[in-house]
């Protein structure tokens, strides 16, 4: 589901100059020319060290987001209202886990092992999309996630699917296909509450009010404070700026919320008809970074659940592993 428009990087901002001095300038020029021509880069190809590092970071965090993102929704499988909703939610959550697998595979082609990625997630070194550090308090939260968070993720993923790294693009192509079902089922459940009883409408409005800030955070800080995207855009690792993606999202989905008679908790939210851009109150970016650092309402629970699963799944992983199969393999060839 969740490309998570914002990819966290704690390694400082001076990477460009340092890393590029180490790369062979002739190979770098050929590499950049290939990308400029629209060619895809494949696992065995030469690539700048920083391109590899950034892609691992991007794809790994995307993979973690899929897996962690299944937790707030998975919580509601047992309590979904009705058999049809339950079936759809199970199918969706299974898809998200599958997306995690596809993305881990894509990241592995860059040379980082699955185990290393999982360990970095468990230790807190590697991040995931910030929205999943908030709880799904009611069924209405599930419909807001299924409709709006998925919609935001699709904006991000459709953009990334046109990127330069072949295995990531192929994984995203498959993911985007399944996302269209997620979005539709989310929208359907969202509409059902919006057009339902007064209690249903109130529950949905309440969920929307709580989720609006995390949704505005979703694409990351505004372009004017978000450093180091220029090179990443030239290399087609980042395909659209945070502000552009946020605007595209608002343009497509705010009308779909308003048409149902719902409101959004931002009095300044409106489309500027001259510029075609949406205007809104500046979200609380201090809170955003505070939650990324681990101090959100659910950070600890999310990681604790993942740890529990790894810890208690170990015995069966070991029991299934046959000794004769034990030699580790080369990288996936795809």
């Amino acid at each position: 589901m969740y490309g998570g428009g914002y990819i966290y990087d704690d390694s400082g901002r001076s990477w460009q100059q340092e890393e590029q001095l180490q790369d062979d300038p002739v190979k770098l020029a050929a590499f950049e020319a290939r990308i400029a021509r629209g060619e895809k880069i494949e696992p065995g190809d030469w690539m700048p060290a920083e391109y590899r590092r950034q892609l691992i970071r991007l794809i790994e965090q995307h993979a973690h987001s899929e897996i962690i993102g299944a937790l707030p929704e998975g919580t509601w499988i047992t309590r979904a209202p009705g058999f049809k909703r339950k079936l759809a939610l199970i199918a969706k959550v299974q898809d998200e886990i599958g997306h995690g697998q596809l993305l881990y595979n894509a990241a592995e082609t860059l040379g980082k092992s699955r185990e290393a990625m999982i360990n970095d997630l468990l230790s807190g070194k590697s991040k995931y999309s910030n929205v999943f550090n908030y709880p799904a308090e009611t069924w209405a939260d599930v419909t807001v996630i299924g409709f709006l968070i998925d919609a935001a993720a699709i904006v991000n993923q459709v953009a990334n699917a046109k990127g330069s790294y072949g295995p990531y693009c192929r994984a995203l192509e498959r993911i985007c296909y399944e996302e269209s079902f997620h979005l539709k089922q989310g929208h359907d459940a969202f509409i059902e509450l919006a057009t339902g009883t007064a209690a249903q409408k109130a529950m949905l409005q309440d969920a929307l009010n709580r989720w609006w800030q995390p949704i505005m955070h979703f694409f990351g800080p505004p372009d004017k404070v978000s450093a180091h995207s220029e090179k990443l855009m030239q290399w087609k690792v980042k395909m659209a700026s945070n502000d552009d993606m946020r605007n595209q999202f608002l343009d497509a989905y705010v009308p779909k919320i308003w048409e149902l008679g719902l409101t959004l908790p931002d009095p300044l939210l409106k489309k500027n008809t001259d510029t075609g851009k949406w205007e809104f109150s500046d979200p609380d970016w201090d809170l955003f970074f505070e939650v990324i650092k681990g101090n959100g309402p659910c950070n600890k629970e999310r990681l604790d659940v993942r740890k529990w699963a790894e810890e208690h799944g170990r015995w069966i992983r070991k029991a299934l592993m046959r000794q004769e199969e034990r030699e580790r393999t080369a990288l996936p060839v795809a």
Partner: protein
């Protein structure tokens, strides 16, 4: 920390764990490449890979991962390590393939010769 909204999560007593846990290299098994056949008679096409302890489980995971949507009549799995491939840097060894027109039907201008012959025999 607030108590989880999920009763199942609360039953796990997560707060009892000391917090540090890591998995070992190799614990996530081997990698298998997956090939998907859309209909009988079609080629199996590579679609991705799965991690599994052996080929039998790889097939089951492949069915979940790649056979859950769209048409599928069959799947193959093969261990990634068993695939032998050329080095991508040796791509140039295939470069003159299209130049060897004597291996293509289009490399033989039969009609030209027939027409020339017919014109001469008039």
């Amino acid at each position: 920390m607030n108590e989880s909204l999920d009763p199942r999560v609360n039953r796990l007593r997560l707060n009892n764990s000391d917090g540090s846990f890591s998995i070992e290299e190799g614990e996530n098994w081997n990698v298998f490449e997956v090939f998907h056949q859309e209909k009988r008679g079609a080629h199996h096409e590579h679609v991705g890979c799965v991690h599994a302890p052996d080929a039998n489980l790889a097939l089951i995971f492949a069915k979940e991962q790649f056979g859950r949507r769209k048409k599928c009549v069959n799947l193959w799995v093969v261990r990634s390590a068993d695939i032998l491939a050329f080095d991508l840097e040796d791509e140039d060894m295939f470069a003159n393939n299209p130049d060897k027109t004597y291996r293509d039907a289009s490399g033989f201008k039969v009609m030209d010769k027939i027409n020339k012959f017919k014109a001469q025999s008039k």
